[in-house]
């Protein structure tokens, strides 16, 4: 169990910057997920921590020891790779025991530790099996066992579940998390899967274009996204432009072509606004946090957008509708069955609204 300090880290590949002064502190025993779309620098950050990517500036310390310029073999990290990276010429037991062999453990102790790992990872009876004969899920378990066997300071997980099929992926999510908590090991997990990050991590680091967009617990980043980018990335990707004025306790929204003027409360149960004064805002809301109402029956305490259903689908549980409002189409979940062509109102409760100044939003997503 050790802590990881990353300070003002800069990494460039052939002139183009991939990481832009990233700072991060992972506490001992904490599970942190690096989340972002492809090319955001999350894997580079992980590989910089493991030592495979040379660093241009900044500092990395593991368990208080500066390892910024140490080669990978001199850092006490263990990586689990997306491609499993098992050695095909070795058995399961040899794969798991290799790190211990490098540490010159006596054979009986290695055998003991390997047996313990096999038990822990539900791989009993597969010790002498060649790893090429194992299923994907079993292979990734072996890779996890190989990393955990050496009891590393930090466990690094590089999209370890991406190559597995959906059911095994869900299973392994919980297993990895349970194992990490039981062993109390510090872990950094790279993923592009939002839900995976949410259910596995203590804290999530959202990266965008080589910089940290937000760090927080899953609930914090979900409920209080710090920027338009984070809001969109975490599912609040219905965006409606509004003219709004912020007062001390309310957000006054001016009437537009498809909605009436409304005054919404601010704060924990109200709308969240990242701007002072007044001006154009981009209001983000999630498909699942709003509902539809018949055109005439609109509640007074919510923002209501008038539109028409253009598409209907049933993904399971609730209906999902495409609703055209002005020139834009929003996706909205609703309990009731409706028909394409119906005139409806999208009812957005204040707590579902995340507003960001429009100009900054445009710059943020560019």
């Amino acid at each position: 169990m050790a802590e990881l300090h990353v300070e003002n880290l800069t990494v460039a590949y052939g002139g183009s910057r991939v990481l832009n002064g990233v700072s991060l502190h992972v506490r001992p025993g904490e599970f942190v997920a690096l989340l972002g779309s492809s090319g955001c620098g999350k894997t580079t950050l992980l590989r910089a921590v493991s030592g495979f990517v040379p660093v241009d500036g900044g500092r990395i310390a593991i368990a208080g020891r500066d390892v910024t310029n140490a080669p990978p073999e001199r850092r006490d990290t263990a990586m689990v790779f997306q491609s499993y990276a098992l050695w095909p010429h070795m058995t399961t037991a040899q794969n798991i025991g290799y790190g211990l062999k490098l540490r010159r453990w006596p054979r009986p102790r290695i055998a003991e530790r390997v047996a313990e790992m096999l038990r822990l990872l539900k791989l009993d009876g597969l010790a002498d099996r060649n790893v090429t004969q194992l299923s994907g899920g079993q292979r990734q378990r072996v890779a996890l066992g190989r990393a955990l066997a050496v009891n590393p300071d930090i466990l690094l997980l590089d999209e370890p579940l991406s190559n597995l099929d959906a059911r095994i992926r869900l299973e392994l999510r919980y297993e990895i998390r349970a194992l990490q908590q039981r062993l109390g090991i510090t872990a950094v997990h790279v993923t592009h899967d939002r839900e995976e990050a949410m259910v596995m991590a203590d804290r999530i680091v959202i990266l965008n274009a080589g910089s940290i967009a937000q760090i927080g617990t899953p609930e914090e980043i979900y409920r209080r996204p710090a920027s338009a980018f984070v809001a969109s990335f975490l599912g609040a990707d219905n965006v409606v432009p509004l003219q709004a004025t912020r007062t001390e306790r309310t957000l006054e929204i001016a009437a537009g072509p498809d909605h009436d003027a409304v005054s919404l409360p601010l704060g924990e149960e109200g709308a969240r606004v990242e701007m002072p004064g007044s001006g154009p805002v981009a209001a983000h809301f999630r498909t699942e946090s709003v509902r539809l109402a018949a055109a005439g029956q609109v509640p007074p305490d919510a923002l209501v957008l008038r539109g028409r259903i253009t598409q209907a689908a049933y993904p399971g549980g609730r209906w999902r509708y495409g609703v055209a409002v002005g020139g834009a189409v929003f996706l909205v979940d609703d309990d009731d069955r409706r028909t394409v062509g119906d005139a409806v109102a999208i009812v957005i409760p204040p707590s579902a609204l995340h507003c960001f100044p429009l100009r900054r939003e445009a710059a943020g997503t560019a």
Binding site: F52, E73, R74, A85, W87, Y98, G99, A143
Partner: protein
């Protein structure tokens, strides 16, 4: 590997005669198997004929005539004579080729390993550019070069004397068995290194990174992670170069013509000086036996590899 091709190709044209031969005959199965079989054979025939004519026939003829006297009767005299006169050369040949193969193995793994694991970009680029050159130089030219390089007054000794490493009196010619080994290794290493480096380059990089991450140094990664994974390629490369070196005459002829020498030189001598095809063929038969031995080893190795998968 090439086996599926003729059968696949044979399956398709069979549709042609079937549709043409639709004269209402109900005996479809018989009509189908006949053309199928015929077309298959027809398609394989040209390749088969080439192999038979230019490989199997001369090989068989040479093997058979090793056991025939000048009068055409069966005899073991040629073989007995070959062993009486040249058993030392046979052992010498096997030793030279085995030693060269071993050195080729070590050097090609070293070159491939450096190309795969080396971190000095300039050195890697330079090595990648340099190591293939001997591939394009024929054995006879290589032998000629080595004669001027390894001789007593050759370039190597001149360099060593000029550099103060040895005294002029210590200069010795390497134009004996050592010269043959040096030439073989110089000529064959690039070939095996090319194959091995290719196999190493196509390895999943993360298997190397996983070992480094757990604390393995580069030599250990080469020995325990990289080489075991490219072993089939390495073995194939070594067997091919074993057989090549076994059949080279120019190098021992030019560098080490005195006894003991390699059996290719003896074969040439039996034919050119004595017109003795019988003993030459018996020597050739010994060559086949040596090549056959490694061939058998290769097949056994290949089968075992296939079984593991």
């Amino acid at each position: 590997m090439s086996a599926p091709l003729p059968t696949e190709a044979a399956g398709r044209p069979a549709a042609l005669p079937r549709s043409r031969g639709g004269d209402g005959a109900p005996a479809l199965p018989a009509a189908r198997t006949g053309p199928d079989w015929l077309w298959g054979v027809l398609l394989v025939l040209p390749a088969l004929a080439m192999v038979a004519l230019f490989f199997l026939y001369p090989l068989g003829l040479s093997a058979v005539s090793a056991f025939q006297g000048r009068d055409g009767g069966w005899t073991l005299a040629n073989v007995v004579k070959a062993f009486e006169l040249y058993s030392l050369d046979m052992a010498f040949t096997l030793a030279i080729v085995l030693l060269s193969s071993a050195l080729v193995a070590v050097l090609s793994v070293a070159i491939g390993g450096y190309l795969t694991l080396g971190e000095n970009r300039v050195a890697v680029t330079l090595l990648r550019w340099l190591y293939r050159w001997p591939l394009f130089i024929p054995f006879i030219v290589a032998a000629q070069m080595m004669r001027s390089f390894l001789a007593k007054n050759g370039l190597m000794n001149n360099l060593l004397i000029g550099g103060g490493v040895i005294e002029p009196l210590q200069a010795a010619s390497l134009l004996d068995w050592r010269g043959v080994v040096v030439t073989f290794v110089w000529k064959q290493t690039p070939f095996v290194a090319l194959m091995v480096a290719g196999a190493m380059a196509s390895l999943d990089r993360s298997t190397i990174e996983a070992a480094r991450d757990l604390g393995a140094g580069r030599l250990r990664i080469l020995a325990e992670i990289v080489v075991p994974q490219v072993r089939p390629t390495l073995v194939v490369g070594l067997i091919l170069s074993f057989v090549t070196m076994l059949s080279v005459m120019s190098v021992p002829m030019m560098i080490n013509p005195n006894s003991p020498t390699m059996i290719t030189v003896d074969m040439a001598y039996r034919i050119n000086a004595h017109g003795d095809y019988g003993v030459a063929n018996a020597l050739g038969f010994v060559s086949y036996a040596m090549a056959g031995l490694v061939g058998w080893f290769y097949l056994r190795h290949g089968v075992r590899q296939g079984g593991a998968r």
